[in-house]
């Protein structure tokens, strides 16, 4: 940026520690005041966004099915384009159980309870809180703000002074785009490539197990939903066969998830091996558009049998 001489009609005092400190103070107060004004405006603007995580905070009748979980939930299950439709899908990449529970509670508060909540269970084995995926929840949700974070005191102070930092999230751009357009389908149109398959085949086997803190969150969430007469279906959706084979304790892992669901009064559906054609996967953990179509046929048939 090319420098230009700072001109003003006012006579500026000579530069001294006092005058610079006074100028810094005035600048700081102005920045904080403007921060609050812009925060208010941005909040109002984003409430008009069709981005699904914003629609949690827009009053409307509840959907029949509410879906929660990480990206596998977001990709593998449907999302109705309009509020109050059949499916409202809050699944998002890296979403943790704590934030999913907070968003679910907000959803139920604002819209009323859905008939059924579908929980894609993969995130129970993920130790992350889901901060990176929880949308702009911290801006709009008291519950989300209450979830602890690993931030420095400086970052915490900065957020306290400048509320706009709360909007600093990877989903802000999606929310802004959502003012004009929202894509219902999260699945992508690519196929898992040979290099990814080779990479997975060279990986060392690993184990998966529910994380204790997540288990406690899921138990509370199911209990709270059932208290409000919401039926809960816990699902493990399709995994690329090569990836599934790398999980050395796969059967025990599924058994632990089943036990967690069933012992708390939820249904458990294991669809991890429901699709084995690699051409229907976009990567190791996500179906592509064709795969999702096939999974929907299968899952809707299962849903009809369960009659939740």
């Amino acid at each position: 940026m090319k420098e230009a001489r700072l001109t003003t009609r006012f006579a500026l005092p000579p530069v001294s520690l006092g005058s610079v400190a006074a100028a810094a103070l005035v600048l700081f107060v102005a920045l904080v005041a403007l921060d609050r004004v812009v925060e208010f405006g941005l909040k109002q603007l984003l409430l008009h966004s069709k981005y699904r995580y914003m629609e949690v905070y827009e009053p409307a009748p509840p959907a029949r099915y509410l879906v929660i979980g990480n990206s596998r939930a977001g990709v593998h299950f449907p999302h109705s384009a309009k509020l109050g439709g059949e499916f409202f899908n809050l699944g998002n990449g890296g979403m943790g159980v704590a934030f999913a529970a907070a968003l679910t509670a907000d959803y139920v508060d604002i819209h009323g309870p859905p008939k059924t909540v579908i929980i894609e269970m993969s995130f129970v084995a993920d130790p992350r809180s889901g901060e990176a995926a929880a949308g702009l929840a911290r801006v709009f949700s008291q519950r989300a703000r209450a979830i602890g974070r690993n931030v420095t005191p400086f970052q915490k102070a900065a957020e306290h002074v400048f509320h706009l930092v709360r909007f600093n999230h990877q989903t802000l751009l999606n929310a802004l785009v959502g003012l004009v357009w929202e894509r219902g389908q999260r699945a992508v149109n690519t196929r898992v490539n040979d290099a990814t398959i080779a990479h997975i085949e060279h990986m060392a086997p690993f184990t998966e197990a529910p994380v204790a803190a997540n288990v406690a969150q899921v138990v509370n969430l199911i209990a709270e939903l059932r208290r409000r007469n919401v039926s809960v279906i816990c699902v493990l959706s399709p995994l690329l066969p090569q990836m599934r084979e790398k999980i050395s304790n796969f059967d025990n892992y599924v058994a632990a998830l089943r036990s967690l669901a069933v012992s708390n009064g939820a249904l458990f559906v294991n669809d991890a091996a429901a699709i084995s054609n690699r051409d229907l996967f976009a990567d190791s953990a996500h179906l592509n558009v064709e795969g999702v179509k096939k999974f929907h046929q299968l899952f809707f048939a299962q849903l009809a049998q369960q009659k939740p």
Binding site: M1, K2, E3, A4, R5, L6, T7, T8, L12, V15, S16, L17, V20, A21, A23, L31, L34, D35, V38, T152, F154, Q155, F162, L164, V165, F167, N168, Q170, L172, L173, N174, V177, A187, V188, N189, T190, N193, A195, T196, H199, A282, N288, V289
Partner: protein, 469 residues
Amino acid sequence: MLFNSSNFLIFFAIFFPFYIVSSRQWRLWVTLIASNIFYAGWDWRFLPLIWLSTMLNYISGLYVEGRPAVLRAAIAANLALLGLFKYFNFFIGSFAELMRDIGLPASPVTLQIILPIGISFYTFHSISYLIDVSRRQMPSEPNLLYFATYVTLFPQLVAGPIVRAKSLLPQIRGGPQVTWAGLGAGLEMVLWGYVLKLCLADNAGPYVDAIFRAPALSTSLADLAGVISFALQIYGDFAGYSLIAIGIGRIMGLDFGVNFAAPYFSASFREFWHRWHISLSTWLRDYLFIPQGGSRGSRLQTIRNLSVTMLLGGLWHGANWTFVIWGMLHGAFLILERLLAPPLAAVERLLHLPSWISKTAATLVVFSLTCFAWIFFRAADLDHAIGLIGILLSFKGYEMTWGAIPPECALIFAMALVVLAVDLGGRSERLRSWYTASLVRRTAGAYALFVLILLFGSFTGQRFIYFQF
């Protein structure tokens, strides 16, 4: 102590009041002490090295005028220090590899050497000082305080810009003055620098890392987006760092010049090097290219001079063959451009192309080839670079399907649009005059930048890329 860390903000908040209240002489002492604290914040063990370098060049500077032998010895000593810390293992390792390749046994002695941060920059500062004094382009500096302040001046210490002694020493000697104009302009530069670093470079960083680590796991389109993202990242990172450094200098009442000037809008490689890392490219021109004969000799000599200059420019960035190839590629581009200029001009005349079409096409070609060269600059080694190029040139996996490019690219390219739009606007003298003439517009612009940082900045504290050089 990174410019994008809370430690630096605290450091500057403590330093600046002392700087303002100090008298002219004490201001330099305050700066010198602060610069040493700043440097010790990286690694205090390297303080003696920078003191040694300062003393060596200070004393040499006093005796270098009219004594070529002193100049040669002093430059050799500077390069020996640089070579030991930066290139020793590289050359020993490469030599041993060569020996092994031709079947001779080789067990090289490598040293556990940590690269002292900023050594390439302060060595170049000092060499330019010695050469300028020996050429009688400036007097030697008899005052050690002034000279030590010049070498260690913290805003430009670790990653430049490489401000020449003949430009900065007179400012230090004259006593830098803090003015409202300097404060305002400096703050604007710092803000824009943070936008470049936090909003563009640091948002691109994780995506670029993932692509260059395992390009085969993504589509070719995603890999191509990764290469372009690196071009944007390194620009945001280094131009951002430079602007923050230059802005802090302006706040302190010092003028470091300009280091980047919308380089990706260059219509030729010659223009690119007039706009990219200007302080290094002019350094290489004045102290390497021109002394070899520049472009005054035959065509063959010019080609040789360009090749040597760009090769050494590449090697300056680091002890790795990837940097050598990067420098050689840029040398080749510059040479080809000279050779092809007459026939291309003839074609342009023949086709009666409007200048904006040929200029846009040339800009796109320059940008594409620059991105190609960046692959070598960024790749961990030659195998990785060639592997990535192989994928890109396979011409498979470029289908524009939903998901072929990951969603994180949206933020990178949105930020790039903002940055490149400002760069493009800055090229228009009329637009720049309109903007800078009004305090209201400038204040609104600065506030917009501040909001952009709060909303889209990445506060993960990523290092500046050029600190490794």
